[in-house]
């Protein structure tokens, strides 16, 4: 039983660690931001950087046989993974649109700030989830070789 708790603790710690992972580019951008427009741009740029990292981390397990077992069981197809990513991006974009709407009903620059902050938060959380999955699949590749 204690193995479950150890895994759950690992999972929770990875999932909750996301705020500490902001890049130096992001910190620098935010330090120089003059207003809402700049803040939103910093957030959006960081989202783009995180998305590239997510793609890169997932690419690292694309040839892992345990991952391909889920991923339509072929090395060439990534149907399930692409579906998963698309569903998540659609969800994130719509949710953040709705979330930001609560602040100013789409009017004014605060909407863009709130939306970009929400996008960054959800992207960081997704990155943590992906990281946890990548770790598990990499561990499996080592222990079950």
């Amino acid at each position: 039983m204690h193995r479950y708790f150890a895994l759950a603790a690992l999972w929770a710690s990875v999932a909750c660690a996301f705020p500490a992972l902001a890049s130096s580019d992001y910190d620098s951008c935010m330090n120089n931001a003059q207003g809402d427009f700049d803040i939103a741009k910093c957030n959006n740029d960081e989202v783009s950087r995180e998305m590239r990292k997510i793609q890169s981390r997932l690419s690292s397990i694309m040839t892992n046989k345990y991952f391909t077992q889920w991923n339509d069981q072929t090395l060439s197809s990534s149907q399930n993974f692409q579906t998963l990513l698309k569903q998540w991006i659609d969800y994130r974009n719509k949710y953040c649109s709705l979330y930001s709407y609560t602040f100013s009903q789409g009017i004014g620059t605060i909407t863009d700030v709130q939306k970009s902050q929400c996008m960054l938060d959800l992207t960081n959380r997704f990155a943590s989830n992906v990281e946890a999955i990548v770790k598990i699949y990499n561990d499996m590749a080592v222990t079950k070789r």
């Binding site: 889920w70 399930n80 569903q87 969800y91 709705l98 979330y99 602040f103 902050q117 938060d121």
Partner: protein, 144 residues
């Protein structure tokens, strides 16, 4: 100013994201006994809790759809359809796909598939409930 804003936003989201262990009393009671029995017994507790959470999440979506303040965002629809329904479906599909991936990874590692699946779904449901319930709460607390 931008720093303090960022700090507040991070604190807010961290408090949302890390406050995911607020299950019902019935679940806590159930899992306490089931933990002494088996994975399957614990999975049953989580399944019941997930059913409760799914209803609560759906109810939050319905509340938003019925609130006239969101009709404009929801492409003019005052019912549970349009963008709001798409959002709900996107999230549901993502949750199922992601938990499939998670279950496979953990099945090769440890734990029963049912246990891992319900555990993953519960984590996703709790987080979704926090996120979606923040919509109306934020709206109602934002000054005119």
């Amino acid at each position: 100013m931008s720093k303090s804003f960022s700090f507040c936003a991070v604190c807010f989201f961290c408090s949302l994201a890390c406050n995911v262990f607020a299950q019902s009393a019935a679940y806590n009671y159930c899992i306490k006994d089931a933990a002494k029995v088996s994975d399957e017994a614990m999975a049953e507790c989580m399944k019941a809790e997930n059913s409760r959470l799914n209803k609560q999440i759906y109810s939050e979506y319905e509340k938003i759809s019925k609130d006239s303040s969101f009709t404009n965002w929801n492409q003019g629809s005052g019912m549970f359809r349009g963008r709001l329904k798409n959002l709900y479906e996107n999230w549901t599909n993502f949750k199922n796909e992601y938990c499939d991936l998670y279950v496979l990874s953990m099945t090769n590692y440890t734990g029963s598939p049912t246990y891992n699946r319900e555990s993953c779904l519960m984590d996703m449901n709790l987080r979704q409930l926090i996120y979606i319930s923040s919509v109306l709460r934020n709206y109602n607390s934002t000054p005119e």
